[in-house]
Symmetry: C2
Subunit: 190 residues, 2 copies
DNA sequence: TGACAAATAGTCAGGACTGATTATAATAAT
DNA sequence: ATTATTATAATCAGTCCTGACTATTTGTCA
């Protein structure tokens, strides 16, 4: 993924050095990646050694020795290959939170309920943020890219809403479970 | 995540060696993790060195030198800590496919459409598989764990359905875009 | 019964990733 | 004018992860 982003951004915005790439990624792609600075340097150097990028060390004078990377022809070809590979990937999400429910018997009674309630609050806010961010973005992109922007944002929006519904449903399920258990206990106690 | 699973399974099913742990994870947790065998050995050894596990090399006679791991008191405590940490994690998904739309101008006209159509087919099948798998699982777990099983499976189901809807909507959006462009071209050509 | 595949059990070298750190320049605060 | 803070720019050591490999035992079926 990361090489794809770096190559694509270098193609779109021209030669940059590591720190600039990181800022560009933060601005442009923060919605769907959080890449750390050292990781970017790692890939820049690797891709240079593979001939996908050309490095130009900034002459002394500007002290901190910047290295500006330019995409090569081989780099453009590699970018195309990475895009084609991406066309083959399938949706296969992982939900760490599932571990909580799988090991539920090791948690305090109320912990899961509180977790879900907190989740509902957070996700409600997150959905609002996404919608705001979408509208802000739509306001300044070209007519031509609006469809793609909408597709990307709706992707996030739809999954956040799905997660929100799931959290609400799960609260319900746990509530009903408790009710059933109480009933059963009363029947028995009778 | 992985240490949590290993500790939890060792707690639930008793002492096991690496290959057994892998099989147990494959049976029990394949829906929400795909962990590779060497990764399991890595964590088993690491956790042993940290005192979370106790290793017993199987005496010669049984040739391939098995190492059976047992969870220690420190391991149980660590498991609790990991569960507590998990309670703090937030939903923050990443969608590699977004890269396709972000860099859409570098793809062939029809590639994205075909990608989305293939996605719809795959996801439709995936949803069926999940539902089948859910029913199979519900059939043999105790009454008590049914709620948790439902919560975990509905988590996946809901997100797969969200992805399916998103793919359909995106096809629509791209269709409408094309229509708009055709209209515009005709107006101009007139 | 011999031979071929599959399951069992594990190792190792190398690649990917990032927290912590270093160092300088620019800006703000007092 | 001096100090503190933030932004810029990069490196390094150490952790995590896994593809490829080794080796044995257990079917399996011809």
């Amino acid at each position: 993924m990361i090489p794809l982003y770096i190559l694509g951004l270098l193609l779109r915005f021209g030669p940059q050095h590591g720190y600039q790439v990181k800022k560009t990624i933060a601005e442009q792609l923060s919605d769907f990646t959080q890449i750390k600075l050292p990781t970017i340097y790692y890939h820049l150097e690797k891709m240079e050694s593979e001939g996908l990028l050309e490095a130009a060390r900034e002459k002394p004078g500007a002290r901190p020795e910047k290295t500006v990377y330019t995409i090569t022809e081989a780099g453009k070809k590699a970018f195309g290959t990475l895009l084609d590979e991406l066309l083959q990937t399938e949706y296969r999400p992982a939900f760490p939170a599932d571990g909580l429910f799988y090991f539920a018997e090791h948690l305090q009674e109320e912990a899961l309920n509180e977790y879900l309630k907190r989740t509902v609050v957070r996700l409600t806010r997150a959905v609002e943020t996404i919608q705001k961010h979408k509208n802000e973005t739509l306001a300044y992109v070209s007519e031509d890219s609006k469809t793609m922007v909408e597709i990307i944002f709706s992707h996030h929006e739809t999954h956040y809403l799905a997660e929100l519904n799931w959290a609400r449903e799960s609260l319900d399920r746990m509530e009903r479970k408790k009710e059933r258990e109480t009933e059963y206990a009363e029947t028995k106690g009778h």
